[in-house]
């Protein structure tokens, strides 16, 4: 008789004694006081022992393997393990439940009772060896195994709920992605506990059977093109994601081009407020801000509430994202999520998220890793430029705020211009034309600056600082002026009275400002002639030329200088008489 009887001495003792096949007593009560006891791990390990080098034709067991608490109905769970563990090669074997209850009664008492109404599952109320032998023979002759179609029906019919710490498919996908990505890079030895959960947990077995996973394959380590400081904010960091990223960035960590940090906090026992505080602590030193943040959205228990579910803007990750973007919009925040919900994407982009890494169990791992590499390279590239840009713009806005020559309405106009210019720079990484548009927007700030009457007042006589006459109209196209145009390349202006000026241009106004208010010999100061020519020759003509990041940096430095009231000096030179 190639049959197996699994029991916990909770069947009629004469049946156990006289059973003709192998017998295996399974008593988990000896183990339940172990610190990390998990019934799924226990069952998995027992199955490994039971089926080692064995092939049974029928398996008999009671509905429960508990003596003290029948409703645990652990026999059902054990049978589900047999069905869902293909590696033990008994997943198609007929199973007979022994017990006085009817299948309908058991199904009323447990969700797992659904297994009783699937192919290859039999029940008997008789606990004598003759009846069991009869049933064995009948099964061998009539239903020696279930087929693949019946197996699929079994998967459709069985009900297995995830344990509480896998509140959604996202948590499952998250762990599966961790294991598959780590296997791909050959660093899965770092996540043995997660791997064991996936291997032994009944729900994971069920999930794997429903959604078979392709082999991850093996990839090579590579060098990320770029450098910077990366911060991982993920409640699963300690569970394995921190180790994964250490492995992912290993070449760059070795050559010190990239540094990787995590929050030194136990997410599980921290409140939302504590997690946000710990995250923002990493942004407290302005001169040492992270470049790229890999941010999970759900970071504490409150984020996993089910009734009612938190609104997106109540999630801890969302709040951290908002705060980071207030500190420096140039910091690139990549949302790492196992969700691909559209609301997430739209909403988070609106708050300033810079990209998504979706952790899915069913994707091609090589593609996922490639996408991860590209996303991070692009983020580092953007952060290197945009973080500096944002800082300079913040500084300029502060100067504008403190500058009492600028009235409130102009302050608003200028701040708005800078925001638009920054937005365009973000877009420029996808379409370089936006560098030109951004440059023009920044140049408008120079023009707005020169419209301040306390700085330059236009009329038949043009005044600087309300009292220095820098130009006087002679006729329609002719001005007498205190500065003279010098036709070199690039052209510039020097202090010299002449009557050759035809138009009072932005160049003229700014050159006056530079020579008088910044106390310079000529208008070459801070590359003004270049800044002017880039505006006229490249920025305004995207079809002819592209503004570069260096051009942007140049004009920003210029703006920073002129908007800083401290740099304005009392003119020592005289104007026209």
């Amino acid at each position: 008789m190639k049959a197996l009887l699994v029991h916990n001495y909770n069947l009629n003792s004469s049946l156990i004694e006289q059973f003709g096949g192998d017998k295996f007593s399974l008593d988990y009560y000896q183990s339940i006081r172990n610190p990390n006891f998990s019934i799924d791990r226990f069952f998995h390990e027992e199955l490994e022992k039971i089926f080692k080098n064995k092939k049974y034709e029928v398996i008999f067991l009671p509905y429960t393997l508990s003596i003290q608490n029948y409703l645990e109905l652990t026999g059902l769970r054990f049978a589900a393990h047999i069905r869902l563990s293909k590696e033990f090669n008994h997943h198609l074997t007929p199973i007979v439940f022994i017990g006085p209850e009817s299948p309908e009664q058991i199904a009323k008492l447990s969700n797992l009772g659904s297994i009783l109404f699937t192919s290859g599952i039999f029940t008997t109320t008789k606990q004598d060896v003759n009846s069991i032998n009869e049933q064995y023979k009948w099964i061998i002759n009539n239903k020696p195994a279930i087929n693949e179609i019946e197996y699929q029906h079994f998967l459709e019919r069985i009900i297995i709920t995830p344990p509480d710490n896998y509140q959604s498919h996202h948590s499952i996908d998250n762990e599966l992605a961790l294991v598959r990505w780590s296997e791909y890079l050959g660093c899965d030895n770092n996540i043995l506990e997660v791997k064991e959960n996936l291997q032994t947990g009944l729900y994971f077995k069920y999930h794997k059977a429903l959604y078979p996973i392709k082999q991850s394959g093996k990839g090579k380590h590579f060098l990320i093109n770029g450098q910077g400081k990366i911060l991982l904010i993920d409640d699963e960091a300690e569970k394995g994601w921190a180790k994964f990223y250490e492995c992912f960035f290993s070449s760059n960590l070795n050559n010190k081009s990239i540094s990787l940090e995590t929050l030194q906090i136990d997410y599980k026992i921290s409140s939302q407020e504590q997690i946000i505080d710990a995250a923002l602590e990493k942004f407290s030193q302005k001169e040492n801000l992270p470049d790229v943040v890999l941010l999970d959205l759900r970071l504490c228990d409150a984020d996993f509430k089910t009734n009612p579910q938190p609104k997106p803007e109540e999630l801890t990750g969302y709040k951290i994202l908002q705060e980071i973007k207030k500190i420096n919009r140039g910091i690139q925040v990549i949302i790492t999520t196992a969700s691909n919900k559209a609301w997430n994407y739209e909403l988070l982009l609106n708050v300033g998220a810079n990209g998504y890494i979706i952790k899915r169990a069913d994707n091609d791992v090589a593609d996922d890793i490639k996408r991860l590499k590209n996303t991070i390279e692009q983020a580092l590239k953007k952060a290197n430029f945009l973080k500096k840009v944002f800082s300079v713009i913040e500084e300029i806005n502060k100067y504008i705020h403190d500058n009492n020559l600028i009235d409130e309405s102009l302050k608003k106009v200028l701040e708005n211009n800078y925001t638009i210019a920054y937005d365009m720079l973000e877009k420029a990484f996808d379409n370089e034309k936006y560098y030109n548009y951004s440059y023009l927007q920044l140049f408008i700030c120079i023009e707005e600056f020169l419209k301040i009457k306390d700085i330059f007042e236009y009329g038949d006589k043009c005044y600087l600082n309300k009292n220095i006459i820098v130009a006087e109209k002679l006729d329609k196209n002719k001005w007498k002026s205190i500065i003279k145009h010098n036709e070199s390349t690039p052209s510039y202006w020097t202090l010299e009275e002449n009557d050759e000026v035809i138009n009072i241009t932005t160049d003229f106004k700014m050159s006056c400002y530079i020579i008088f208010n910044l106390n310079q010999q000529n208008s070459k100061f801070l590359n003004w002639p270049d800044i002017r020519d880039i505006r006229n020759n490249k920025a305004a003509h995207p079809e002819k030329g592209r503004v570069t990041k260096k051009d942007i940096e140049k004009i920003l430095e210029f703006l920073k200088h002129i908007f800083n009231n401290q740099n304005m000096q009392q003119p020592t030179k005289s104007g026209l008489k």
């Binding site: 001495y9 069947l11 339940i32 998990s38 019934i39 409703l71 645990e72 509480d164 026992i269 409140s271």
Partner: protein, 196 residues
């Protein structure tokens, strides 16, 4: 005399993850229930982790604690303490996929957090305090707890254990469900399951 309970939950947000504000307030207002959660439970957890003689728990009859909050040694300490002092112990954790009960030496229940933090938790605790909980499994099965006891008894009877059962055990079953003949048990079980 009331039976006092201590609930130790190191994850501060988990109560609100499963229970509404009103339900949490009801728990907080229960006399004879002490709740330590978040940072407030550090001290008691530290004690359990470091000593086998946890005097501060002496006044409680039921200890409900998040298993993962404790180190391995703390878990052993607490189990030994409950065994020695005949305390009831409920360990809960998010990773527990199947509830398990044992009454060997002391009443011990291992449950998933979701099964602990149910709306009827307050009723269970109130009844427990007043001594009206006959079996810890009432926490997970609610009104169905008796079915489990009846099924367990029937299992023993079918196994042919009746004659070998100690009079103490027979009395326990008698007290819990008031039935001990197989025929009566079958009828009662069928009836109870029918009305689920």
């Amino acid at each position: 005399m009331n039976k006092r309970i201590i609930l130790i939950e190191d994850r501060p947000e988990r109560l609100s993850q499963f229970l509404g504000i009103d339900q949490i307030n009801e728990l907080k207002n229960l006399n004879d229930l002490t709740i330590f959660y978040g940072e407030n439970c550090n001290e008691v957890i530290e004690k359990i982790n470091s000593t086998a003689d946890i005097l501060s728990l002496n006044e409680y009859k039921l200890i409900i604690i998040h298993r993962s909050a404790l180190k391995d040694l703390g878990i052993s300490n607490l189990i030994n303490y409950c065994k020695k002092n005949k305390k009831d112990l409920i360990f809960f954790s998010g990773g527990i996929s199947q509830s398990v009960f044992s009454s060997n030496d002391f009443n011990y229940l291992l449950v998933n957090s979701k099964e602990l933090y149910q709306p009827h938790l307050k009723n269970f605790l109130s009844k427990y305090i007043l001594g009206n909980i006959k079996h810890l499994s009432e926490l997970i099965y609610g009104d169905k707890w008796k079915i489990s006891i009846m099924l367990s008894l029937r299992q023993l009877l079918l196994k042919g254990e009746l004659d070998r059962m100690s009079s103490e055990l027979k009395e326990q079953y008698q007290n819990l469900i008031g039935i001990n003949s197989l025929e009566d048990l079958n009828k009662e079980i069928d009836k109870e399951i029918l009305i689920i």
